[in-house]
Structure formats: structure tokens, C-alpha cells
């Protein structure tokens, strides 16, 4: 019985880790673009800034690669006074637009989640049976 309880706790912990990892993964591209939007950054630099969001540092470079292939960021090599040459990333015009859209979506999403968590959400009752309920934050008094 004790073993089963321990197993359940462990499974629950694993599920929680997966869930947290998925949340981080979903928002990582936006955070990465936001970091680069502030100033040109190189890989290690970005990693330092996003350390809490990265499950592994190895996930950073594939993501940078993808964003570069999609035209959201651009890259150039530059000599460094304190070490080896670094590959710096900058945001392109497409990247700026993408980031703006992402931020709007993020605001909507977090507001809705926050409203549900704090019990301030209103659930629309005009949805058809079987459809997903629409949750909105109540307007502030």
C-alpha cells in the first residue's frame, strides 16, 4: 500500500514536471525574441537570461536555428575582446511583428488563466451544447 502511494506521488511529480516543461516550452520562443529585441545577444548571453525557462541549454540552439530559418532573427559573427568570436542574433522586422503578436496572445491567455485561478472569470452561457465554454475576465469595477 505504501509502495503504491509512493509510486503515485512519484508519477504525480513526473506529470508535474512534464506540465511545467510544456509551459516553458510554449513560451520560450516569445521570451527568446523578447531578449533579442532588447539588444543583439549571443548564445551564452541568451542562455544566461533564459536559464530558468530552459530545460536544457541544448534546446536553445535548435530554437535559434528555427527562428533564423523562419526569418524572425538574423545572425552575424563578431570578434570579442574577452574571448572567442561570438555569433550575435538580432531581431528582423518579421521577428518584431511576430513578437508583437505573441505578446498580445500571451496577455490574453494569462489574463484568462488568472481570471479562472482567482475566480474572477465570467463564463459565457451563449455557447452551443458541446462547444467549449468561453471564459473571460470580469471587467474591473
Amino acid at each position: 500500500m505504501l509502495k503504491r502511494a509512493k509510486a503515485t506521488v512519484t508519477e504525480s511529480g513526473e506529470d508535474l514536471k512534464k506540465w511545467a516543461s510544456q509551459i516553458r516550452k510554449g513560451s520560450l520562443a516569445m521570451c527568446l525574441l523578447a531578449a533579442i529585441a532588447r539588444r543583439p545577444c549571443y548564445g551564452f548571453d541568451i542562455m544566461q537570461e533564459l536559464r530558468d525557462l530552459l530545460t536544457s541549454e541544448g534546446t536553445l540552439y535548435p530554437l535559434l536555428n528555427r527562428l533564423q530559418n523562419e526569418g524572425a532573427i538574423d545572425a552575424y559573427w563578431q570578434e570579442s575582446a574577452s574571448g572567442p568570436p561570438r555569433k550575435y542574433y538580432t531581431l528582423t522586422e518579421t521577428g518584431r511583428e511576430t513578437l508583437a503578436h505573441m505578446q498580445i496572445e500571451w496577455q490574453r491567455y494569462t489574463s484568462a488563466v488568472e481570471a479562472v485561478l482567482t475566480g474572477t472569470a465570467e463564463i459565457s452561457d451563449d455557447s452551443e451544447p458541446g462547444e467549449r465554454l468561453i471564459v473571460r475576465a470580469k471587467p474591473a469595477p
Binding site: 551564452f44 536544457s56 530559418n69 574571448g83 572567442p84 555569433k87
Partner: protein, 372 residues
């Protein structure tokens, strides 16, 4: 590039550092050299940066994750984005490019062999030799090559010399061993199976032409032979029509050459060989086709059912099978045989050259290999 960081990499750490980068480099094999080195260089900078800040190499490497996992993720991201950005015209061009080089190599060799074969048949060399091995080898060598060459070139394109193959071929598989297995299966068994089935079902005209040619030869047994063997004449009148109706163009041609044999024992030996080949010919298509179907299923599974790769595989099969069928068509004896041997090969060679030229003239958009 390394600056004062070399101090941190002296000793055991340097081996680990280089080993890690070498493993990533190996995992990025399908990418172009420029792109691969750019990625490796950036990772090296990352590791060196960590060392410079006083972190242990093991810790930095552990945070980066397994080199093969990292390389695989880089490849995945790159392939997905490149495929997503391609226009239909570009996709078509890439599909053509994927088969052009192996196809061209195959066709050049086949045309050469076809020429040799034709020359061999119609210049009397066959009559000057007693060996049946040479004509048989000349007959089957193109068939063997048409199976092996696409397989070999595809395998090289996938794993060995990326620059010799097209970009799409390079990106078809991500891991070495399953990819190699799939390449062997897709590159050999399926074209072989389909080609043999096509040969046996769609080319009866070739057989009929060969039989007519043989009949003509056997009606004039004394033309080239001072003492035509009696058994051959009997075979001609009583049995040859029934037997040859079941024979393929290959066997018919061998029988035609047998009409010039001066030794009855030699002729009988040839007949036994022909019978054996007939039995083999019945069993090979079924086996090859079954294995080919298995190869297709496995290949699609290994390529994760990506549509572009699936189309490439499909085009590859059609091309290889078509070449195989054309090869068989070219085995008709007599003057029509010469024309039939040259015309399709000539046309396909021209097509291959055109495809290769298109491949050269239109660079792939979004390919960062050259840019880097």
C-alpha cells in the same frame, strides 16, 4: 578564435571538448559543410564561454545535453522549416534533383553497356567464342547495375559524400543505421521487384519480336553452319513455338544465338541453362515484389511519413522501375532491337541531362549551406 581559453582546455578537458563537438558534427552529417561548421563553431564558443567563466567542462556539457540529441534537434528544426517554406515549383525541382544524379550515372553506364551488347551481338564476336558466360554476363550486368547503382548513389548521398547528392536525399534520414537499411531496401528491392513485374507483364511485344527473329534464324539453319545439328531442326519444327511462347526475351535471344552453335551438346547445355533461368525468373518477381513492399513500408516508417520524402521515394521507384523496364525492352533482337535499345536510352539520357542542368541552374532557396 580560442584566445586565452586554451588554458582552460589543456589536459583531459580538451579531449572531452573536442569529442563532444566531433559527436555533434557527426550527427549533423546530412547538412552542408558550411552550415554544419557554423553550428559546431557556435557550440564551441558556448562551451568555451562556460569554461572561461570558471565552470567545469563536464557541467557545461551536461547542461547542453547529449550531442546526438542536440544534433538531431538541430536537423529536425532545419528540415521542418526548409520544407515549410518551399513553393510547389521548388518542390518539383527538388524532386527532380533528388533523382537526377543517380539516374544520370545509371543511364551513362547503361548506354555504354547497351552499346557493347549490341556490338557484341551483331559483329560476329558471339560466333567466335564457345563461352556462354560472356553473353550471359553482358545480358545481366545492366540489370544488376540498374539495381545496384541507384542504391549505391543514394547511400552515398545519404551518408558519405553529401555534395554528390541532392539536398533532399541528404535530408531524408536522420540516423545512420535505419537510414542505411531503408536506403538499401528502397534503392534495390522495390525497383527490382516492380521492374521485373513490369518486364513480365507489360512487355509481351518484346518477346514476340524475339520469337519471330528466332523463327527466321531457325528456318535458315545452314546459312552460317556447314552442318546444322539435327536436333535443332526438330526442335524448330515441333516444339520451339510452344516453348518460346513461355520464354522471355532473354531466353529467346539465347536460343537465337544457339542456332549458330556447331556442337549439339553445347546447344543442350544452353537449353538447360535457359530452363533454369526460366524457373528463377518465375520466383524472383514474387520474392522481390514482396520484399519491395516491405521495403516501402519500412522506408515510409523510417522517414516518418513526411510527404516530400514520400514523394521522393515514389519518384525514385518509378524512375528506377522505368529504367529497368526500358532495359528489358531494349533486349529485343534484330534491327528493331537495336532501335529499341538505343531510342529509350537516348531519350532518357537526354532527360537526365536536362534534369541535371535544371538542378545546376536553379539554386535551392533557403539552403543556408552555401551562404554559411
Amino acid at each position: 578564435m580560442k584566445g586565452d581559453l586554451n588554458v582552460a582546455r589543456v589536459g583531459d578537458g580538451e579531449a572531452g571538448f573536442e569529442d563532444y563537438l566531433a559527436a555533434v558534427r557527426a550527427g549533423l552529417g546530412p547538412l552542408g559543410e558550411g552550415e554544419r561548421e557554423d553550428i559546431v563553431r557556435e557550440l564551441a564558443t558556448h562551451l568555451e564561454e562556460g569554461l572561461r567563466r570558471g565552470e567545469a567542462l563536464d557541467a557545461v556539457i551536461a547542461r547542453m545535453g547529449e550531442p546526438m540529441v542536440l544534433a538531431s534537434a538541430m536537423l529536425q528544426e532545419r528540415l521542418v522549416t526548409v520544407e515549410r517554406r518551399r513553393s510547389p515549383l521548388e518542390m518539383l525541382r527538388i524532386l527532380l534533383a533528388a533523382v537526377s544524379k543517380p539516374f544520370l550515372i545509371t543511364m551513362v553506364i547503361l548506354v555504354g553497356l547497351s552499346t557493347l551488347n549490341t556490338w557484341y551481338l551483331f559483329t560476329g564476336v558471339m560466333r567466335a567464342t564457345d563461352s556462354w558466360l560472356l553473353p550471359l554476363a553482358l545480358y545481366y550486368l545492366p540489370a544488376i547495375l540498374v539495381i545496384c547503382l541507384p542504391m549505391a548513389t543514394l547511400a552515398v548521398g545519404l551518408f558519405g559524400l553529401p555534395r554528390l547528392s541532392s539536398e533532399l536525399s541528404r535530408g531524408m534520414f536522420r540516423s545512420a543505421l535505419p537510414g542505411l537499411v531503408a536506403a538499401i531496401l528502397l534503392g534495390s528491392l522495390l525497383p527490382a521487384g516492380l521492374g521485373i513485374v513490369l518486364n513480365d507483364t507489360l512487355l509481351p511485344a518484346a518477346n514476340r519480336a524475339s520469337v519471330d527473329f528466332l523463327r527466321e534464324q531457325l528456318r535458315q539453319p545452314g546459312q552460317d553452319l556447314p552442318h546444322p545439328p539435327r536436333s535443332i531442326q526438330e526442335l524448330t519444327r515441333a516444339e520451339v513455338q510452344a516453348r518460346l511462347a513461355e520464354e522471355t526475351a532473354k531466353r529467346a535471344r539465347l536460343l537465337a544465338s544457339k542456332a549458330n552453335y556447331t556442337d549439339v551438346a553445347q546447344a543442350d547445355e544452353a537449353l538447360r541453362l535457359i530452363t533454369w533461368l526460366g524457373a528463377l525468373k518465375v520466383s524472383v518477381p514474387a520474392l522481390s515484389f514482396g520484399m519491395g513492399a516491405l521495403g516501402l513500408a519500412l522506408g515510409l516508417f523510417l522517414t516518418r511519413f513526411r510527404p516530400v520524402r514520400g514523394l521522393t521515394v515514389g519518384l525514385w521507384i518509378v524512375t528506377s522501375s522505368g529504367v529497368f523496364a526500358l532495359l528489358q525492352w531494349g533486349q529485343v533482337s534484330g534491327l528493331p532491337g537495336v532501335v529499341a535499345a538505343w531510342l529509350p536510352f537516348g531519350c532518357t539520357l537526354v532527360l537526365a541531362v536536362v534534369i541535371t542542368l535544371i538542378d545546376r541552374l536553379l539554386p535551392i532557396r533557403g539552403d543556408h549551406a552555401e551562404a554559411c
